[in-house]
Symmetry: C2
Subunit: 180 residues, 2 copies
């Protein structure tokens, strides 16, 4: 379902499946990695309403796994380039790989992909420095936030027939959000 490519190295297309909805690629010699590409192979799409959160995991000085959220892949955006070279001193983020107990090797990092509801992804904020370059990162990040907001907002969309009568509650037409 997923492929992973470290810039300069051979592509990997066979992640370790550590849970029904969780996939892990090993990144040997991660200190010498700048960019990682994560992509869907195009064979199996995500189930409707689902997408993947992409995490970078590396061992800290005491050998504990630090997980950082890089971003997302979805059926609509089935690939992404992440810059991991600046992340090795950052703080970990909340992550869904806690129960996995993946063995940590000092020179091996991991890319973890967790298949989750799009609504859940929309509420997660990737580390900003993981985006590929400053200009793109800003554009892409802003676009992603807007997309997230639209997905998030439209998950609450109702038709007038579904509205509970409450004249003081304001509604925004969904196509206004989409156009914006």
């Amino acid at each position: 379902m997923f492929g992973c490519l470290v810039a300069g190295r051979l592509v990997q297309a066979a992640p370790q499946q550590v849970a029904e909805d969780k996939f892990v690629f090993d990144l040997p010699d991660y200190e010498n990695i700048n960019h990682v590409v994560v992509f869907m192979l195009g064979t199996i799409p995500f189930p409707d309403g689902m997408g993947g959160s992409v995490y970078f995991c590396y061992p800290d000085q005491s050998g504990m796994a630090v997980w950082q959220l890089l971003g997302f892949v979805t059926n609509e955006k089935p690939s992404a380039i992440f810059k991991i070279s600046g992340l090795k001193s950052g703080k970990g983020s909340q992550h869904p790989f806690g129960a996995m107990n993946l063995p940590q090797t000092p020179t091996v990092a991991q890319i973890g992909i967790s298949v989750e509801l799009l609504e859940s992804l929309a509420q997660q904020t990737p580390v900003a420095s993981a985006a590929v370059s400053s200009v793109d990162s800003f554009t892409e990040f802003t676009q992603k936030m807007l997309d997230n907001f639209y997905n998030f907002a439209s998950s609450f969309a109702v038709t007038q027939a579904q509205m509970t009568p409450n004249p003081s509650e304001a509604f925004i037409p969904a196509n206004v959000v989409l156009k914006w």
Copy 2:
């Protein structure tokens, strides 16, 4: 043999083979592309002493194909990320796709891969702005230039037995170049 991935889109793994040693991927809607990843699938390596030069081709205002050298893939460096968003107004470079007469469509660009001798690749200089980010680009470009220089220089390497007697000609031991 090759794959091509536009960041954000689905991977392509079936280039059009336009000559025995030349492969082309179409990039629809290229105006909205920032980064392209070119990689070997890992199935068939280059023949010994061969590698691939990677070109970006886009139609200029009059519909003529402009080709720009992005960089290289080799068995030792089987993947690379290129930034093409800054290239659309640049000048074309010499390229080996002249006789191909690839049809140009206004919104479709191409990635062309030409399989050539490593010695020939070493004498080609990619457009500097195609490297992924300014810092990496400099490091990678410098490294590439050094690699190119080493490959280029070592193609002239001789042993003392092969030297034509000429006491005024200076020689540099090959391992000095390699260490540098």
